[in-house]
């Protein structure tokens, strides 16, 4: 258990940094910046907690038989899906939380993963577009 703890911490740090930058931008863009930052914080924290939940699910699923791992992962996905639904519902209903901030906070985790794991090596993209006819 906890074999992916290092990556969870790295992603959580990334989300906090990313959300701090967005909060800074939101401070200047929005007249009512407090609900926006509250939403961003709310969404960010839920995204991190759901990522932790996903990691616990998958750490359990990898030691199961493939068929039961499929069923287990799918059933747990719908639990997290429900959680996301509740969070967005609360943000829409509560006046002191900006729903745009919450959605940004929820999606920020995916953006951080793409940033840290995909756009961290420009050589990879250079190799894609390198022409090989001359060699």
């Amino acid at each position: 258990m906890g074999s992916t703890l290092d990556i969870q911490i790295r992603v959580a740090k990334g989300v906090l940094i990313f959300n701090s930058i967005i909060a800074g931008i939101g401070f200047f863009i929005f007249n009512e910046w407090v609900p926006f930052i509250t939403g961003l914080l709310f969404g960010g924290i839920i995204a991190i907690l759901n990522f932790r939940l996903l990691s616990l699910t998958l750490e359990k699923a990898v030691v199961m038989a493939p068929e039961s791992a499929q069923k287990y992962a799918t059933s747990r996905y719908f639990v997290r899906f429900l959680l996301y639904g509740v969070v967005i519902f609360i943000s829409i209903k509560a006046n002191h939380i900006n729903v745009l901030g919450t959605i940004l906070g929820l999606v920020s985790l995916k953006l951080v993963i793409l940033k840290t794991e995909l756009f961290n090596d420009f050589q990879f993209f250079k190799n894609i577009f390198k022409r090989k006819e001359g060699k």
């Binding site: 074999s3 992916t4 990556i7 990522f51 996903l54 990691s55 699910t57 998958l58 750490e59 699923a61 990898v62 030691v63 199961m64 038989a65 493939p66 068929e67 791992a69 499929q70 069923k71 287990y72 992962a73 799918t74 996905y77 719908f78 997290r80 899906f81 996301y84 639904g85 967005i88 519902f89 829409i92 209903k93 729903v99 959605i103 929820l106 999606v107 985790l109 995916k110 993963i113 793409l114 794991e117 995909l118 090596d121 990879f124």
Partner: protein
């Protein structure tokens, strides 16, 4: 002479209701349709988990690497589900269409159309999960190549996500900046 065209009869019957009621009923259908996209990530993540279990059973030493790749891939595969939820909940609790002026039938159809367009989210959900599953499988076989496998997986997933984002843009345009109403 009595009109025997079923479609005309149906539309006439539909227009006998209050304008707001027709739009709200269409919104309810649209909301339900949008939520169908939630199936995609479920299937995709299930596939990834199955492949992960397979990979670990073949080569238990790679368990940590396999779980890491699967975790990252599955987290990105969830995005379409969140986007469909956002559209469905906006339609339910922040419905911008009820107060629109213009043809009620066009607005009602747009509400259904916005929900229908979000069904496209199934594609990225399943596709991204499939990419995560295959990457997990290959990490189990060739753990030394983990970083390049992960990068290739994310490149594929990022491209696969675009159709889901297009669907959301169309849904948002139909809800907030509907160009069809001005054509009447």
């Amino acid at each position: 002479m009595e009109n025997t065209n079923f479609i005309i009869q149906f539309l006439e019957w539909l227009m006998s209701f209050d304008r707001a009621a027709v739009i709200l009923a269409a919104t309810a259908i649209g909301t339900g349709l949008a939520m169908i996209a939630g199936i995609g990530p479920g299937i995709g993540q299930g596939f990834a988990a199955g492949k992960g279990a397979e990979a670990v059973s073949y080569n238990p030493k790679t368990s940590k690497q396999v779980t890491t790749v699967m975790l990252l891939g599955a987290a990105v595969a969830e995005t379409s589900g969140i986007l469909s939820l956002v559209i469905a909940l906006i339609m339910l609790y922040g419905n911008p269409m009820v107060n629109l002026s213009g043809g009620a039938i066009v607005i009602a159809a747009s509400a259904i159309g916005a929900g229908l367009s979000m069904i496209a989210g199934i594609g990225p959900g399943i596709g991204q999960g499939y990419a995560a599953g295959k990457s997990t499988e290959m990490t189990g076989k060739r753990p030394k190549h983990q970083s390049s496998i992960v990068r290739t997986m994310f490149l594929g997933q990022a491209v696969a996500q675009t159709t889901g984002i297009y669907a959301m843009i169309i849904a948002l345009v139909l809800m907030f900046a509907n160009p069809l109403i001005n054509l009447l």
